[in-house]
Amino acid sequence: MVAALFMSSNPHVSLASVSHSEPVQREITRLCIETGLMLLQHGAESALVESLTRRLGLSLGVRSVEVAILANAITLTTLSDSHCITTVRRNVDRGINMYVVTEVQRAVLAVEEGGLDRERFRARVEAIKPQPYPRWVVALMIGLSCACFARLAQMSLPATENRDWDWMGCGLTFAASTLAMWVRQFFGARHFNPLVTFFVSAFVATSVAGQGVIYKLGLHPKIAMASCVLLLVPGFPMINSVSDMVKGYINTGVSRGMMVVLLGAATSAGIILAMSVWNVWGWL
């Protein structure tokens, strides 16, 4: 009785497990790890990957699911009738895609509510396609976003400066960022290393915005130079890194954080190269 109470308060172990033959347990293990891998590849934080994978396994009827997430792999063990099955998958980053994360989560919720069995869950998850927004729309929206960042920076200037709308500066930021985003998409689609992509994009953005300093366009051309590279700040990995570490996943948190610093360093190298080529020193 005491043992049962203790176990029911432990969310890692299911009391409602049923006996499975080995092929069925193997199938459940595969479904679990493929779900976890899909979430990890599309930018979910470690806590979400672990909890959804475990919930899926428990609702499909194994007794417990243990997940270990490494920097670029995921390993998973299911326990059923005191038989263990362990498997490992390599994790290749597919880029942040919240649509995939949402759809996978809804499929897991449907299994938990009893609406899906193993076969239908597999069919539903395999049918999820990334469905990106049209590239030109994203590029224009990112350009517009950086123009907004430029305006926000103009607003927070000290009171001694002119804080009026600097349309020229915002327009220059828009042009530089849209072009840089197009370059980023172009290189990304050809599977270049992200570090190379960020380096080239930063060079393009700073080269365009640097013309504003050379020809003295607008009120604050240096703000345009600073704002046009903000599309290259890896904001999502930054937040994921800290929240992983706060929730106890130190190793994935550190590896995500290191990637953020490397991407930042590649971007800085691109900025420095552009500033040396055009001989405009807008940052420091």
């Binding site: 919240m98 649509y99 994360v101 517009l144």
Partner: protein, 154 residues
């Protein structure tokens, strides 16, 4: 009046990057509206707190926590994890300029040798960026740390 106008301008200008980066993160179409609302709310609240005299780091923390609690409420109706749209809402508050300033100052130290000004720039900008990112991430994690300790949000 001037503060109110600035507040509205801040909120409108923050909503655009939240949606723009939401599209980059491929947030589902139905949740883009919540990215915009969260971005505007977070940046607006932070602006008010800073105007009232609070330092930027605690102001960021409170703004992120407010967006996160609202995100939990919406997430349970949308049947999606709150991070799906709250991270895009945090983008207007990400300290991008201090982050790059710190890294560029390090490169300049390497190129031209150590000066007190460059070292101070590198250290203060880097610390500012790190503290604001930590405030954002911990603020976002607050509902889980306080209320959803043993049960999932969705």
């Amino acid at each position: 009046m001037n503060t109110l106008f600035q507040l509205l301008q801040n909120m409108a200008l923050a909503a655009v990057p939240a949606v723009g980066f939401g599209m980059l993160f491929n947030v589902p179409r139905g949740a883009l509206l919540f990215c915009a609302a969260g971005g505007a709310l977070g940046r607006g609240l932070r602006f008010l707190l800073i105007t009232a005299g609070m330092p930027i780091e605690p102001a960021t923390f409170i703004a992120a926590a407010a967006v996160s609690f609202l995100g939990v409420y919406i997430a349970q109706r949308l049947r999606a994890h709150p991070k799906v749209f709250t991270v895009a809402a945090m983008i207007p508050m990400i300290p991008g300029v201090p982050f790059f300033t710190a890294l560029l100052a390090v490169v300049e130290i390497q190129r031209h040798g150590l000066t007190t000004e460059l070292f101070a720039t590198a250290l203060t900008s880097g610390l500012k960026a790190a503290f604001i990112v930590a405030a954002l991430a911990v603020g976002l994690a607050l509902p889980g740390l306080l209320f959803y300790r043993r049960k999932p949000v969705v």
